[in-house]
Subunit: 261 residues, 2 copies
């Protein structure tokens, strides 16, 4: 199987100009077909504040009322997404900025929950792998904003980690797929106070041990749970680490690589 | 030569939900390859006001400082563009929302002017016809926001009429190209007080006569000058009229069709 790379970068990478520039330079050197998924949390929160819209979070998930959906469509789907593309073009890397609505790439269903009204939040139901392949065949990096659609004209706010994971799982049927969660941390640390104590490789049993002994930072747990879920659903390799060390992440010199067993 | 349709819709069509819905339904029935270019003026002005950014216009052109560029990138490149795409998908019409940066479709040069600093405004220098063709071959309508890039990472605000015209001129070398300027007016009127007095066909000489006798509304003059310029640069047909009467515009039953001679 040919190789395919799905990279997710979080809001902290977007917010930090120096880190972002380093990441984009690293990305521009990647030769395998590649899909970039981005967040953009803080910028959306800041824009909401400027517009007098109160940001609400439950369990780290943004509650998306109509006004907030407008903001995230503007900030994620416009500002962040288009600027990432313009920057990649300047580095000679062809890119195309898209949401799940564009090319019908990612469909979702409005989340229904017994007690919490998440508003215009969508859970991924379908990834259009042939749509992605058509764009990749043109030599373009699809740059994906964390927005999907329900096929009935409704744009839905969708968690960027989940989008990346869904794309990776779908693509893993066709390609040997590596999913990279790039953020500001070095990976899973054996000692939280020591950035040098990165665990380079980890399997599910070792992860469970670390959870039991409380070594894993609580903020990392949902990320790692999702990452192991991706592995169990067929993604060949998941790597967690600093976005701007992309080439080292890919050759195993930095970050934490999750193993099948 | 195969047929190709380039349609530009203005801010008034975007702002009026009923007209927009009618236009999109008409568009979804079009079978030729099609590129849609949209404006979105009033929404950007309104967003600028909400953010306390003063909108400046010189000769109808928006002066684009850094804050305004942020707004138009959000509103044109995000909100308007993505919603148009989601609506087209709901009508079963595959679409992809793009700026000139995406796929390096439209490059521009920051406008230099002896006395006026237009800010981040770009004049089109290059249309990537093979990029458009690759998207059209996938059966997608490229939905183009009035933003381009300079290839050095800078997004530039670009007049939607000019974008549509530049795309049409470039495409007219490869396709028999029809350029439609869809807006809220019925076309060129013989009697301004009578919407029924539309001139169905007009050539350059007849247009010059109407200008001389003051029959043409002053607001229409730049639009018609540009349209005749497009004809002289090789566009096979230009039609001006109501966006939501698209099929009638195309079969000559409404709007004004500009003739070569």
């Amino acid at each position: 199987m040919n190789e395919m790379l799905i990279i997710k970068i979080g809001g902290q990478v977007i917010d930090d100009g120096v880190t972002l520039e380093r990441f984009l330079k690293e990305l521009s050197k990647v030769e395998s077909p590649c899909i970039l998924v981005h967040g953009g949390g803080k910028l959306a929160t800041r824009m909401s504040e400027r517009l007098g819209i109160e940001a609400k979070l439950i369990d780290g998930r943004r509650i998306t009322d109509a006004a907030t959906l407008e903001v995230v469509t503007m900030v994620y789907g416009g500002l962040v997404n288009r600027q990432l593309v313009a920057s990649l073009q300047a580095l000679g890397k062809p890119a195309m900025g898209l949401t799940g609505a564009d090319g019908d790439l990612i469909r979702s269903k409005k989340r229904e929950h017994a007690t919490i009204d998440y508003g215009f939040v969508g859970d991924v139901t379908q990834v259009n792998t042939s749509g992605f392949e058509a764009i990749l065949r043109q030599g373009q990096i699809p740059v994906i904003a964390p927005l999907s659609h329900d096929g009935q004209g409704q744009i839905l706010n969708t968690n960027a980690d989940t989008m990346a994971q869904s794309i990776a799982v779908a693509m893993s049927k066709l390609y040997s797929t590596t999913l990279v969660f790039g953020f500001e941390k070095a990976g899973v640390l054996r000692d939280l106070s020591d950035e040098g104590s990165v665990i380079l490789q980890i399997n599910k049993a070792e992860y469970n041990d670390l959870k039991t002994t409380g070594v894993v930072h609580t903020g990392m747990i949902p990320k790692l749970d999702n990452a192991f879920e991706a592995i169990s659903q067929g993604v060949q390799r998941v790597i967690i680490g600093k976005a701007d060390e992309l080439s080292d992440l890919l050759n195993g010199k930095s970050g934490t690589t999750l193993k099948h067993e």
